[in-house]
């Protein structure tokens, strides 16, 4: 078990957030943090409020209780410092790939002239391997390419925190795999702090430093934090040969299949919402 970090070192701190509707609590007492340069994945079943948590971090939604502090400041709304890669790419279909990214760049740098903005947008597209398709409209791009543009748009604004809401769930398995590695590379290169929601256990193992496991809703909670001790760089092709991979995967699968349900609504004795148990199955 790692000792809790002093609050100052916590780059992003989620402090006791809850989402309540009259007569229904979707999730409550959610506490966790993300350190600078860390990649955190949130895993849980549908209906536990994962997307709401991400939207709260993005500032698109407000919690019924609690607060989110990023880099020492409580967030009050959306910000360029927290870029979102949306589940359904959310590209504007009337703009070309380049213009979609340029729109984001021009928001970050309103004082830049057109040529400079386009140059930066082109560079961002090259980083995701789309320099050739820059002039194409989203309708002329494949699903994977569209999501690449979405990634380029999010990274083009140099956010402090990159938020991803099941970014690959709409893609076919092959494309998903390629994009996972691409994101892994980009995030590692840039030392990017990232938070991702996913259903994919292998996706979480490939990308995350820590994996938050949520119980089923209503009254969902972060039941456990899994430390992913598998060494980097990780490659999808040999991930399952890494020592400890199976222990890690089995642990998460067991949680998703049974414990997410049995732990729902009734936390075990001595459980502390601020310090959920931390486990490292791969290190054993």
């Amino acid at each position: 078990m790692t000792p809790p970090l002093p609050a100052a070192a916590r780059y992003v701190s989620i402090e006791g957030i809850a989402r309540r509707f009259p007569g229904l609590t979707v999730f409550e007492d959610v506490w966790f943090h993300i350190e600078r340069g860390e990649f955190v994945c949130l895993v849980g079943h549908s209906g536990c409020g994962k997307t709401t948590i991400l939207n709260i971090l993005a500032g698109l939604d407000q919690p019924s209780e609690g607060a989110v502090v990023v880099d020492g400041r409580e967030i009050t709304g959306p910000s360029l410092d927290r870029a979102v890669i949306f589940q359904g790419h959310a590209l504007m279909p009337w703009l070309s790939a380049l213009e979609n990214v340029a729109f984001a760049v021009s928001c970050r740098h309103p004082d830049w002239e057109r040529g400079r903005v386009r140059e930066a947008a082109r560079a961002a597209l090259s980083r995701v391997g789309l320099a050739q398709a820059a002039e194409r409209k989203p309708a002329q791009l494949s699903g994977g390419m569209k999501q690449r543009v979405g990634i380029a748009r999010a990274l083009a604004v140099n956010p402090k925190l990159l938020l991803m809401d099941e970014p690959f769930s709409a893609l076919d398995a092959l494309t998903r795999g390629t994009l996972q590695e691409e994101v892994s590379r980009l995030v590692t290169e840039a030392g990017q702090t990232a938070f991702m929601i996913t259903h994919g256990v292998d996706e979480a193992i490939l990308l995350a430093d820590r994996i938050l496991l949520m119980t089923n809703g209503p009254e969902a909670r972060v039941a456990e934090i899994v430390h992913n001790t598998l060494p980097r760089p990780r490659e999808r092709a040999n991930l399952h040969h890494m020592p400890g991979y199976h222990a890690l995967r089995d642990h998460i699968m067991d949680f998703l299949i049974t414990r997410s349900r049995t732990l729902a609504g009734k936390p075990p004795e001595g459980w502390d919402a601020r310090r959920p148990p931390v486990v490292a199955p791969a290190a054993a």
């Binding site: 993005a58 709304g77 959306p78 910000s79 979102v84 359904g88 928001c107």
Partner: protein
């Protein structure tokens, strides 16, 4: 166009139908000449010497209309006094009024529609007014316009304004209100300001819907201008039609109908081109 039908086949059928219609028409009119007086003798006396003699129908044959059309189009912009102006001049007057009324309507309807589309409160508050005023025939406004504006030409522009405003207003409001949430979220996370979001996200997203409203509006405006000009008189294709009725020149009325149809088609196609330009596809 229906897919799968070759263009030339549809065109050939169209031409055949047109030829059959014109031929039937020509025959019907000429046939009346042999069948004795086809019209009331008193009316026939008013029409033409030939008709008065019972030799011909009051309805001109397509060949006569064609000849008359060539004559009118040979000098469409002549101006010989207030009651003798070329058909081109008359159409230009009507087009000017439609353009003025339509432009004013767009200047009011699109910004207002934007506000209504963005604010559910404003939408709910203005909806009763719109619902009551929209079904009113634009010509019902004419007396009020004439009384307050005291100028017949401006009154007809006002009538065009009032009939074009509703489809544009409703379509803009609908288009703006149904802009995809995710695009707005993108703009919010990028901290694009209100204006930037309005101009670079909402406007292009709603543009196809707005253009549909504009297309409906221009169609209605062109329908209404004829009636408005019949009422106020002076100039314009509507006035010209009424004038030719008073002159009992049926051929000219047929020509006017044809011209009104062609200009209306051109207006619709023009906005269709603009719509194509702002259209986007997912």
């Amino acid at each position: 166009m229906t897919a799968g039908v070759p263009f030339w086949r549809a065109a050939a059928l169209s031409l055949a139908l047109l030829a059959a219609l014109l031929f039937g028409w020509e025959m019907a009119v000429k046939g009346a000449a042999t069948g004795g007086p086809a019209v009331d003798p008193e009316l026939a006396a008013l029409l033409s010497p030939a008709a008065a003699a019972g030799g011909q129908s009051a309805m001109p044959a397509p060949s006569e209309i064609g000849a008359r059309l060539l004559y009118l189009l040979s000098d469409p912009f002549h101006q010989r006094g207030t009651n003798d102006q070329g058909i081109g001049i008359q159409i230009a007057w009507s087009l000017w009024r439609v353009a003025a009324g339509f432009t004013l309507a767009a200047l009011v309807a699109i910004p207002l529609g934007f506000l209504i589309g963005m604010s559910p409160l404003l939408n709910a508050a203005l909806n009763p007014f719109i619902q009551v005023l929209r079904p009113v025939s634009p010509l019902a406004w004419m007396p009020l316009a004439l009384y307050t504006i005291k100028d017949s030409s401006i009154s007809s522009i006002f009538v065009i304004f009032i009939c074009s405003v509703w489809p544009m207003l409703l379509n803009t409001a609908f288009g703006v209100a149904s802009v995809r949430r995710e695009w707005l979220n993108v703009a919010r996370t990028l901290e694009a300001g209100r204006w930037k979001t309005a101009l670079r996200v909402i406007l292009p997203a709603a543009a196809p819907t707005i253009l549909t409203g504009m297309r409906i509006s221009i169609g209605i405006a062109w329908l209404v201008i004829v009636a408005a000009e019949m009422l106020v008189g002076g100039t314009g294709i509507g006035y010209w039609v009424w004038n030719q009725w008073n002159n009992l020149s049926i051929a000219d009325i047929v020509i006017a109908i044809l011209m009104i149809g062609l200009v209306g088609l051109a207006l619709d196609r023009l906005l269709g081109l603009v719509a194509l330009w702002v259209a986007w596809q997912e």
